[in-house]
Amino acid sequence: MAERRRKSLFDIFEEIVGHIDRVIEELVGIEICESPLCDVSKRELKPLVHVYETEDEVIVTIDLPYVRKEDIKLSASEDTLKIEAPIRERVKLSRWGPYQREVEFEYFRRTIKLPSNVEPERAKAKFKDGILQVFLPKKIYGYRIAVE
């Protein structure tokens, strides 16, 4: 049986801050720490992501153009999903914005905070037309109550 790690005070604080950020994001529709979807120094792009949940699962859809299925590295914990994938052809942008020179990107990389705790070992994923869909069953808490 997997050993349950005791949460530190920092973990709990981070969770609360993350929760407040998500609530504000939902209410006013803006990101708290706004940052571009790229890191030029690491040659990385953050993929676009759509997260939604049903009663039973969290479904994460990720846009991954220029990516081959066999190159995708995907891992999940109870509350996060990590995606890493090399870009098939280097994406070049020339003389754009603060980078008045050519910049290249080689990787998609992103860690996604999940809205509910999930059972990562039961997760499934499918990839079609450069779009990855990950289905993560939600962790079940509590007991079934029989209705007489």
Partner: protein
Amino acid sequence: MERETFRIIGMEGVDVKGAKLLVGIPDVGLVGVIATSHIVQSLKMKELGHIDSDEVPPIVVIHENEPKSPIRFYGDGGNLLVLTTEIVLPPTAIFTVSRGIARWAKSQGVDLVIGLTGLATPNRLEIEKPAVYGVATNPETRQILGKAGIKPFEEGLLVGTYATLLRECLRAEQANLTLLAEAHLQFPDPGASASIIETLNSLLNLNVDVGELLDKAEEIRVKARELMKRTQEQLRSLKKIQEQELPGIYV
């Protein structure tokens, strides 16, 4: 002194009487922006003028070392006009810009305002070729829809920029046709834009090749990510999700 909130600059000497005005503004799947951008490039349309408003975000686009307004008109020298932008309009600007476009089009004798957008489709991944639906503001335009084989968008809600443009056109008695291609809500969708262009080809007798657009689909999806992210934020604040909800009561 009252603030002048909407101005069209550079179009004074352009004869737009009887023109068809295609509108591509960031919305579902960036369908309209991708489609209008491809049409402008394919038909080598020239920049004619732009829209200015105090409510438009403080952004200037620099292209080949030349500052440009973010909301621009293009023309082909004939009766085709394109209005496109690569910025996301804040909600207050949506009203001002939509009202301004509708009133200007009516006053200048524009024949038809054609809004190009996406219809967020939950099972888009399973759809090979997105269908295109249309909503028209008057019976004459609805007849054109039928002749061009465009499926009517029979029932439902439209939310956001194109809904406002449609409403303002109704108010100004300006003919409007809004075309909606099945699209990804959250990701740029060049495939949906290609479907819209093919529909326009048969509707307006255009000859815009979508092969190049489809060949460049992955590149477009990479380059349009930041605009899509901003559009996602806007769609969330406009409660776009209402379009997906089950119907209420309509009498």
